[in-house]
């Protein structure tokens, strides 16, 4: 058996050893029910799904023997049999419940809500959209997703394939040419746990047409405590001169598993900014892949990961340039306490054609306990000779002198540490386009971490 793999694909080695866990063993068979979709969309989705399902049969769960997964051991996933479709009955949710109201961002211009990957019209708010903005679930689609859905490079990667094989629902956003959507569009993917563990496959497609502008908040969370595997895929297309300001919040419970892919394609002169905040998951992984296909693209990646207890939080980013005069700026911060682990791998590839690239990358890590751990690895692949590329990584602890300074002004040890942790995080939060969300995140971070004296 052979599998065609594209060149930038490291995930795709097939493991034939006795310990190999095939993806098909990971979850119960999905009885892929008839999609309630228009004929054109249904045909498209079905063909994507068929292709991915066939591929998924052959794929195995990555192991730490693979370089891309060296620090992230997925063995705990093997212990769990994830339920397929049995749970997919529609959950009735009450839009007036306090729990739900707390999730609403007053700044948002529109909201699309999925609970356990079922679209929830009664929780969503997509009436009176501004001109040029189209938002819907998969069922609301005409044929406008052809050529975009499932078409980003890297579609054959293990977890992306798994997501596509289970594709039943998606959030679809399209901004028309020249339209500027300043207030955020809020996508909310809620897990509402049941006694079983489930494989949940959220999907999101964003198309920003030429010279359009979009602010997007994509949020994953669990109401309660779950042990699901949330395997999300988001594809974002920025056409010429488009701008997308993307906030991605992952705050599942600390016992869930989250694997998320953000695949971004940037045409010439486009500007993409990502604020990724990752708090939840026993094991979480964010694969952030940006493909710059034209000249003068600008990419800004801001990331904040917080891990505590036994959590393992992994961010793998990759920016691939192909044309001259592009810039990228990346700042990724991790705050790790207890026995948790943070992983950061930041790849930047600058081929010969991408002269005059200006790329910077900085990874700053704050360890709050002697047992907390960070694995950080920049991965610069630079072939072009006339470029400006920098990278760096720092690992630090809270400064004892700073803690003392605050204590000498009346703050107790924990409050002093909290203030310093907030000070470390604030840079990554302050650009998030919702004060409500910024406040929620600050509180969540402080309730998650614990500082031990060194």
């Amino acid at each position: 058996m052979t599998i065609q793999v594209s060149t930038d694909l490291d995930l795709q080695s097939v493991d034939h050893s006795a310990h190999a866990v095939y993806l098909s063993d990971l979850c119960e068979r999905l009885d892929l029910d008839q999609l309630a979709l228009g004929a054109e969309t249904a045909a498209l989705v079905q063909s994507l799904r068929d292709r991915a399902s066939a591929l998924a049969q052959e794929l195995t769960l990555p192991t730490t023997r693979q370089e891309e997964w060296r620090f992230t051991d997925l063995a705990p996933l093997r212990q769990i049999k994830f339920a397929g479709s049995a749970w997919r009955q529609r959950v009735l949710a009450n839009p007036d419940s306090e729990a739900f109201k707390n999730l609403i961002l007053p700044e948002a211009v529109a909201r699309l809500v999925f609970v356990n990957n079922c679209y929830m019209p009664e929780l969503s708010a997509i009436a009176n959209l501004p001109t040029g903005l189209a938002i819907s679930s998969l069922a609301g689609q005409g044929g406008a997703i052809a050529g975009y859905l499932g078409q980003q490079p890297g579609a054959e990667e293990v977890f992306t394939t798994l997501n596509t094989a289970h594709l039943t629902e998606a959030a679809v956003i399209r901004v028309q040419r020249h339209q500027v959507i300043e207030s955020p569009v809020h996508l909310l993917f809620i897990s509402s746990p049941v006694p079983a563990s489930r494989l949940v496959s959220p999907r999101c497609l964003v198309v920003a047409e030429p010279s359009s502008s979009l602010t997007l908040v994509e949020e994953y969370l669990t109401l309660g405590t779950g042990t699901d595997l949330i395997n999300a895929v988001t594809e974002i297309w920025l056409q010429e001169n488009a701008q997308v300001n993307h906030t991605r919040i992952q705050r599942h419970s600390q016992t869930d598993f989250h694997i998320g892919k953000t695949a971004v394609s940037q045409a010439r002169d486009s500007r993409y900014t990502c604020h990724a905040v990752s708090l939840g998951g026993r094991i979480s992984r964010h694969n952030l892949k940006v493909h710059s296909t034209g000249q003068q693209t600008e990419t800004t990646l801001n990331g904040l990961t917080v891990a505590a207890g036994e959590q393992l939080a992994d961010t793998h980013s990759a920016i691939g340039f192909s044309q001259p005069h592009c810039t990228s700026h990346q700042l990724h911060k991790c705050i790790v306490s207890d026995r948790a682990r943070g992983v950061f791998n930041g790849k930047v590839s600058v081929p010969k054609a991408a002269q005059l690239t200006d790329a910077s990358q900085l990874n700053r890590n704050l360890l709050l306990s002697p047992k907390a751990r960070i694995d950080t690895k920049p991965q610069l692949e630079i072939v072009a000779d006339n470029v400006k590329c920098s990278h760096g990584a720092t690992v630090s602890q809270l400064e004892a002198e700073e803690v003392f300074y605050l204590q000498s002004r009346g703050l107790d040890y924990q409050s002093a540490c909290n203030l310093l942790v907030e000070g470390f995080a604030v840079e990554m939060l302050e650009q998030i386009p919702s004060a409500t969300l910024r406040r929620t995140l600050s509180q969540l971070i402080l309730s998650q971490i614990r500082t031990e004296p060194a």
Partner: protein, 260 residues
């Protein structure tokens, strides 16, 4: 101002302290009463900052002997934050920069931790804003400094003013000012000194550490102590400071040697 029979704020007896096993304070004794202003002078490395940080509870120093009573209570029994809340304040020789922490938030949290200690309600953002504006005037500080991170990118003089602003908010019983005058030009010195003078009351006390008698023209001390190799070797009036400035410290060492 020396007041007969006023309350003893700080009483230090034969204090000795180490850093990493090296003795720094070697039998320091000092008494400060309510209403008084004391100055400590002394050569570099004599242990002045160490003494101030020991009083504030810095964890790097180990107390090896002696006693320190603050308003009759053993100071070493309480944590740094408890000392602060009960009225000990140290204006640092080198105030730290704390990136990411807004000065205003920091001041509010500090102020409220004292209020809480006193059993008072915490001030909300609006009420605190009003209070801080009023206190800014004491050190003639531009309100824009509230929006910045604590001391980040502040000039030396601005950092010192920010320390006095904190003092103005916390209204300590004992304020220890470690070289608050160093690096200030004459205008800034006048502002800081004037601020401190506005904060002196009959029921509080000030301990200033300085190298320059210039400061003492603006904040007039009741006592001037000379510290040398970890202890107070001479105590006098303001005139002693003038003499030190004119003659240096050597003559004190000589007199000490003769006395022995």
């Amino acid at each position: 101002m020396i007041v007969e029979n006023s309350e003893v704020i700080l009483s230090v007896q034969d204090l000795t302290a180490d850093v990493d096993g090296t003795p720094i304070l070697k039998g320091l004794s000092l008494e400060i009463k309510a209403g008084e202003i004391h100055a400590i002078m002394g050569p570099n490395g004599s242990g002045k900052s160490t003494f101030s940080k020991v009083l504030a509870g810095h964890p790097a120093y180990t107390i090896t002997g002696g006693t320190v009573l603050f308003k009759g209570q053993n100071l070493f029994e309480s944590e740094p934050e408890e000392r602060s809340r009960s009225g000990v304040f140290l204006a640092f020789q080198y105030p730290l920069e704390i990136p990411g922490v807004s000065n205003l938030d920091f001041l509010r949290v500090a102020y409220n931790s004292k209020r809480k200690h006193q059993g008072l309600d915490e001030l909300d953002v609006f009420d605190f804003d009003e209070l801080v504006q009023e206190r800014l005037a004491i050190v003639k500080m531009n309100p824009s400094f509230l929006e910045r991170s604590v001391n980040e990118g502040f000039s030396g003089g601005e950092k010192k003013r920010n320390e006095i602003l904190q003092m103005a908010l916390l209204e300590p019983t004992l304020a220890i000012l470690d070289e608050t005058d160093s690096g200030l030009d004459i205008d800034a010195l006048k502002i800081v000194a004037n601020g401190v003078n506005q904060l002196t009351r009959p029921d509080n006390a000030i301990l200033m550490i300085t190298h320059y008698q210039r400061l003492l023209d603006y904040i007039v001390p009741d006592y001037v102590h000379v510290m040398e190799a970890g202890k107070i070797v001479t105590t006098g009036s303001k005139a002693l400071a003038l003499e030190l400035e004119a003659r240096g410290y050597d003559w004190i060492r000589e007199e000490e040697a003769i006395a022995k």
